[in-house]
């Protein structure tokens, strides 16, 4: 089921100079229940808003306190230009959606929903990636535990891994962790009798 997106109580920051586009933006953001601030200077890293709308025609690199590979908030670009350089700049700021200038009322809500959705997706992907990297880093530990099981208990590769996997499931921890416990001596990998 698609839940109705609800921005009530959100803080939006418009990074732009005051113009007619911003007037229309502010009107629509207010009626979505958001509070809106606006400035044309870099955004401070502390007390971040919930969502950023940024003038991608005239923006410069230091406006946002994050790097392209890790935007901390959903970003919507406001873009009149079709110049590839400006589009690419918008992408580098983490824009998940663009609103074309001149801004029309009907363009705003869909862009916000899209940018927030893409931001959430990115954060979930980043978490998953961090988790997988952690497991990858621990691969040698798993191999070492398997080698010890093979030599001590005369098991082949598959059986040694099966022992680790079974105990990981019983203890409800990852295979990598059970391997580390085994090598550290806090886990015997034997049934209690």
């Amino acid at each position: 089921m698609t839940k109705t997106p609800n921005f009530t109580g959100w803080k939006a920051m418009i990074l732009s100079e005051e113009d007619g586009n911003c007037e229309r933006l502010k009107r629509q953001l207010h009626l979505l229940g958001m509070s809106v601030a606006m400035q044309w200077r870099p955004l401070a890293g502390e007390a971040l808003p919930d969502l950023v709308l940024i003038d991608a025609d005239r923006g410069w690199d230091e406006l946002l306190p994050w790097t392209a590979d890790n935007p901390l908030r959903p970003v919507v670009g406001l873009l009149g230009s079709e110049a590839p350089g400006r589009i690419s700049w918008a992408i580098r700021q983490g824009c998940g959606a663009l609103i074309a200038k001149p801004v029309t009322a009907a363009a705003i809500f869909p862009a916000l929903v899209l940018a927030v959705s893409i931001h959430e997706e990115r954060m979930a992907a980043r978490l998953r990636e961090a988790h997988l990297m952690e497991r990858l880093k621990l691969r040698p530990v798993v191999h070492a535990a398997m080698a010890r099981l093979k030599s001590e208990r005369g098991l082949d590769d598959d059986k040694a891994y099966a022992v680790l996997r079974d105990f990981a499931m019983r203890r409800r921890v990852p295979v990598e962790q059970i391997a580390a416990f085994f090598l550290g001596g806090s886990e015997s990998l034997r049934e209690a009798v």
């Binding site: 109705t4 009530t8 009107r27 890790n70 009907a106 954060m123 978490l127």
Partner: protein, 378 residues
């Protein structure tokens, strides 16, 4: 320099929602007649009929604005037609007076919304249905944005209330082969049915539900009502005699509304066209849109849209819907919620009513989500 103010009227008299369009046009015609009968400024309607052709709406709006000098257009029935016309109205900084119930999620500065959005029709309808009939619902809808979005929201309301959606089916406006849906309903046995079908599909569905109720009393309206948000009095004549009796519909106006204003309105209407015709919500809404437009132009002493909007938003206006206030933030009218039950005279008995509800087109107050919790991933 024109000597009279011209107002464009843009409704389709043909196509699957032609009955609604004809009703709306006639409501507009009566508004001009009724205004002139009492004297006042020179005001002249300019009619354009797009004949259900979506691209003709844009053509029509262009002709009304450019050739006829209209700065105000009352019209469009479907959201698709409205969306077609809005960019042109924006470009010429005119005003579109839209007077049909719609699915919400829009608030354009160049549009005045008089028809109502879901927090004024669908949500109070569910507030009525869920505690009285149960939480197991079946959803049917027209296969375009109205049906899809109304059913999406219905599903959300039902789920939030801890209920279940037993089925969700869509039909094109002119599709009358409803038996498979009826069979599914018979098997799933819902507590009620939310009907967002439009036109002939809706009429065929109601007739088939009647037949099902005759075979199995569990599906009679008192046990498993079919509730609509857009079934006009004028349409009830299109449904087989007696087939829709007992079914429910949400609206902001019903013909049978027992108020002094409505009785006087119907008397003037009878004097104009004779007979005792039924007034549907869309007729009353089109009438109201035209009267409000004229009144706001008069109050502004100009048809310049910016000034007209300002005068419109500055106060409340007596209308068939009661004292009407248009919210300056959203340009939407506050509207009462009425629940009608179809009677044997092919009309509605009003069985529930609320005072005017302020429009919340983006449902900011009614589908409250938790405050944003955006985790920082560093």
């Amino acid at each position: 320099m024109q000597d009279s103010v011209r107002i464009g009227i843009l409704f389709s008299s043909t196509g699957p929602y032609g009955a609604i369009g004809r009703d709306a046009r006639e409501g507009a015609e009566f508004a001009f007649h009724d205004y002139r009968a009492a004297g006042g400024m020179a005001v002249e309607p300019v009619y354009f009929d797009p004949h259900a052709d979506l691209s003709a709406y844009l053509e029509g709006a262009r002709s009304l604005i450019r050739d006829s000098g209209c700065r105000h257009i009352v019209g469009t029935i479907t959201s698709a037609a409205r969306k077609e016309v809005i960019p042109l109205v924006e470009k010429h900084d005119g005003l579109l007076w839209y007077m049909c119930p719609y699915e919400g999620f829009e608030a354009n500065e160049n549009v005045i919304y008089i028809g109502g959005c879901p927090n004024q029709h669908l949500i109070p309808l569910f507030d009525h249905l869920l505690p009285r009939h149960g939480k197991r619902a079946y959803l049917v809808g027209a296969n375009y944005v109205w049906g899809w979005e109304m059913n999406r929201l219905s599903r959300e309301l039902i789920t939030n209330a801890g209920g279940t959606v037993l089925g969700e089916r869509y039909l094109p406006l002119e599709e009358t082969a409803v038996q498979r849906i009826i069979d599914d309903i018979q098997e799933k046995r819902p507590d009620f049915i939310a009907n967002n079908l439009i036109g002939p599909a809706s009429y065929a569905f109601l007739e088939a539900m009647r037949a099902l109720g005759e075979r199995d009393p569990a599906f009679r309206p008192e046990n498993c009502p079919v509730a609509s948000c857009d079934l006009q009095e004028s349409e009830l004549d299109e449904i087989a005699e007696g087939a829709a009796i007992g079914q429910l519909c949400a609206a902001s106006y019903f013909d049978t509304l027992d108020t002094a204003d409505n009785r006087a309105f119907k008397a003037r209407l009878a004097a104009w066209k004779g007979g005792d015709r039924k007034v549907s919500c869309v007729f009353a809404s089109a009438y109201t849109a035209v009267r409000l437009c004229i009144a706001a132009i008069e109050a502004a002493a100009s048809d310049e849209p910016g000034r007209v909007r300002q005068s419109l938003l500055s106060r409340s206006w007596p209308t068939l819907f009661g004292d009407m206030r248009i919210d300056p933030a959203t340009n939407h009218a506050a509207l009462p919620f009425l629940l009608g039950r179809i009677n044997a005279a092919r009309n509605y008995d009003v069985i529930a009513a609320t005072p005017p509800i302020a429009a919340d087109p983006y449902l900011t107050g009614t589908t409250r989500a938790a405050a944003p919790k955006l985790r920082v991933v560093s």
